[in-house]
Subunit: 140 residues, 2 copies
Amino acid sequence: MNVEEAIQLMKDKGFKHTDKRADMLQLFSAEKRYLAAKDVLEHMQGKYNGLSFDTIYRNLSVFTDLGILESTELDGEKKFRFTCAADHHHHHLICLDCGKTKHIEECPMDLFPVKKEGFHIVDHKFEVYGYCEQCEAPRG
Amino acid sequence: MNVEEAIQLMKDKGFKHTDKRADMLQLFSAEKRYLAAKDVLEHMQGKYNGLSFDTIYRNLSVFTDLGILESTELDGEKKFRFTCAADHHHHHLICLDCGKTKHIEECPMDLFPVKKEGFHIVDHKFEVYGYCEQCEAPRG
DNA sequence: GAGTTAAATCGGAATCATTCTTATCATATA
DNA sequence: TATATGATAAGAATGATTCCGATTTAACTC
């Protein structure tokens, strides 16, 4: 998925094209890492003075619903990134500082049976956390 | 670890014994599932009128630091349970409704190598979510 | 190209979980 | 029992997120 495809998908689903939405998608496409709502707001405020939090949150939610962005929750914050593989299940190694990721193909659910007597399993989360080279250095 | 051991550990570490702390530990020991701060508050308010949120949060934090409780973050809420195995690494299958858990012995980190070029790994999270029999039924 | 309609946005208030602050109180100890 | 220090109450403060009413704008119709 790229920005053009994302915008087309958005239109196909009946959402309107706006400059703010296009710019948000452009940002995520360029960054390819997890960003918090406030990161997005900061980045956009240069161009759009008085941009509302509501706009950011609403659009993040729209994009996530459409599968354009994927999200996770880290340290009490929702974070979003341009989906790196909308078509197949995967996991991430995530930099706790900048949100940069590495793709993890293996899924633990495929590798061993989780004893699930008396449970109806509906989801799972597997994430590995660390610091990338750029963020590790300053931490000494 | 049981309630008595937890209280002893608390005293050994220089924390004072109070009825509220003992009751909180009693609750977690009896429930053996993930509870949110507000669950604990509700449970305690019957006995202690005017109990402060601060007391709950501070004590949850003390217990977690001492390894008496283990915690996770689910749906924007911190949840706590009496540690089911303070001595060895493990994961959980968790009921999204009531917080009941099943122990998962296998750790994905042991089962396959996570390609970590350029990353310094410091942590990971593996949780399986579902609904237990009691909570599944009402959901129809 | 102007008019219409529903969606998008703004600005700020509201909410929810959590943390902080200050004064008061209770536990453990001398 | 007196004292010191930790624990608690009460409520304010914080931070992320959501909600709401009023206004603006994109997309469609004529």
